[in-house]
Amino acid sequence: MTTATPEVKVPFYKKLFMRESKNYWNSYVGGVLLGMVLFASFFLTGNGLGASGGLSRIAAFIEDMIAPDHVNQVPYLISMAGGQLNPLDNWIVLVTLGVIIGGFISGVINGRAKFETNKGPNISNRTRWIFAFLGGIFFTYGARLARGCTSGQALSGGASLSAGSWVVMFAIFGGAYALAYFVRKLWN
């Protein structure tokens, strides 16, 4: 019974996602504001920022729902989800949730929240998706091994002048630059 009328009234929530896309901030302005957020985190809580820790706990939560007995046998998971422990009951999960909400708000306000796949011009969407998935596996595996990712190690530890974090930071950029030439088709 849907009759197509040329004058479609666009509902409010759809309009939200049809805003004109605005430019990103200047890099240095973004950097100063990011630095202030990072400082606020240290200043108020003593902790820096993080992202992979939250993912880690979400994964542990899923595993704990599916196979709680198994979780209780894996040392790495016990500390997060063993016995009665709720892996989501941790500050980093709140930060992770906040990141998603904050990113969403900024994306909607500035007209950048839309379904799309960003990719290099010479690959298909499917190739991009496969490599995004693969990249995610590598990145968080490495992040667990190094005890933090670009946020928890490189950014937070970089600002608090942790020696180990500076090493991790150089390793991340070193690894990416070393491989960049060989996978240039993905992006160029």
Binding site: G35, G46, A51, G102, G103, K114, R147, L161, A163, G175
Partner: protein, 413 residues
């Protein structure tokens, strides 16, 4: 006391604490998205020197936060000892970092940026997050195979100041100048390889550069608070408590805590090595006053239920050590009342008396009063007294365990 960081959860409750974390995350996500970090193609340009946005945002943030942290610490507003400084695990850090680099160039995101990409419906971002969950899963399942490597090459809380052995201010200036140099080089690359216009960045950034260099110099000039400065900040509160003997615990209270399962007890013996060899309390650690500074960061990494008790032959040296530890914000530190001399007065048995020729006549400050004919170390009953034998000892309980303010884990837990 240095007021920040706040003791969030113990003071304001879990709800408020978690709300603060949520708001911090929200601001983090907002800034990441607005800086263009939800767009993988933009992030990847970094690695082909076409657009160095990632470097610029990242190092501007590090310099900004660093200047604010050490600026606030310099004026006694923020306690650097209580800030989470990622401990160094050298080789797992390097290998993990390299693997992350592989993930970065293949996937086009890092975990934080993939979350804002997911939040703004980028399908590649959503797949990166899903892959990320799989990566965590694989790590959890395989950690047992590499646990030695994962936990090896541990160096504790090591800062760049420790590595280069130079003052904080110099490092702060160095990092600031390095970042500015990288921005200068990066912009040159963006013009030559990325084909950007010469005026694509606003002139105001030169003012910004001048501001950060000036701030770094001021921070170096002011310097970070010394232990003495830190003690002066708390002296008006702590000295009267010390005089009222709020922190001097009776030997029997220490003995009681030997058997308290919820307490992680650390007895620090600050006497000479020879006195320590003659007699010491079981499991006590012999550390000189000079050795304490290098161990502060280690003490901060101890679990929240750790109780530190410092002991010397009487109370003079142990009080010095106590002041130092308390000034450096180590929580739950107490002094053994009357020192080892009083400990032996209280707990010496027939066994020790057999090896003892009596007391020294003119016992000086900080001298072991008992004259032993043989070095007993901790292999005698008084080193680990049987609590049943001393149940009738009366004392005033003084230990009140405080929840610690310093985080015990970073965002990597």
């Amino acid at each position: 006391m240095i007021p920040f960081p706040l003791s969030l959860e113990p003071t304001y409750g879990k709800l408020i604490a978690y709300l603060v974390f949520l708001l911090i995350g929200l601001a983090f996500g907002y800034v990441l998205e607005s800086s263009g970090f939800n767009k993988s193609t933009l992030l990847a340009k970094q690695f082909y020197f076409k657009d160095l946005r990632v470097f610029k945002v990242f190092f501007t943030a590090i310099v900004t936060a660093m200047l604010m942290i050490f600026g606030a610490a310099a004026i006694g507003l923020l306690d650097y000892n209580l800030i989470w400084v990622n401990p160094t695990y050298l080789w797992s850090g390097i290998v993990g970092g390299l693997i992350m680099g592989v993930g970065f160039i293949l996937g086009g995101f890092c975990p934080g940026t993939s979350l804002v990409a997911l939040a703004t419906f980028k399908i590649d971002g959503i797949l990166f997050v899903l892959g990320g969950l799989v990566g965590v899963f694989i790590f959890g399942e395989t950690e047992q195979l590499i646990t030695y490597f994962f936990n090896g090459s541990y160096f504790g809380r090591v800062t760049l100041m420790d590595v280069f052995n130079i003052p904080t201010g110099v490092i702060v200036i160095g990092v600031t100048l390095m970042a500015l140099f990288m921005f200068w080089g990066g912009e040159k690359l963006e013009r030559s390889i990325g084909g950007k216009a010469a005026d694509s960045e606003p002139k105001a950034r030169y003012i910004g550069a001048a501001v950060v260099v000036t701030l770094a110099i001021i921070i170096a000039f002011v310097g970070q608070p010394t232990s003495e400065d830190r003690w002066n900040l708390i002296e008006s509160v702590k000295q009267p408590e010390l005089d009222a003997r709020a922190y001097q615990i009776h030997p029997a209270e220490l003995l009681h805590n030997f058997h308290e399962h919820k307490i992680n007890l650390k007895v620090i013996d600050v006497r000479s090595e020879s006195d320590y060899n003659i007699f010491h309390i079981m499991d006590s650690q012999n550390l000189s006053l000079e050795e304490l500074p290098s161990l502060i960061s280690e003490f901060h990494l101890e679990p929240a239920n750790t109780l530190f008790v410092v002991a010397s032959n009487d109370e003079k040296d142990s009080t010095e050590a106590w002041k130092y530890l308390v000034a450096e914000s180590v929580p739950n530190v107490y002094i053994l009342e009357g020192g080892i001399n009083y400990w032996l007065d209280t707990f010496a048995t027939e066994y020790e008396k057999e090896f003892c020729e009596g007391n020294k006549d003119n016992c000086q400050d900080e001298e072991l009063r008992y004259i032993f004919t043989q070095a007993l170390g901790a292999s005698c009953p008084a080193a680990y007294p049987e609590p049943e034998h001393f149940e009738d000892l009366e004392y005033i309980t003084k230990i009140k365990m405080e929840l610690k303010r310093a985080p015990t884990g970073g965002g990597c837990g």
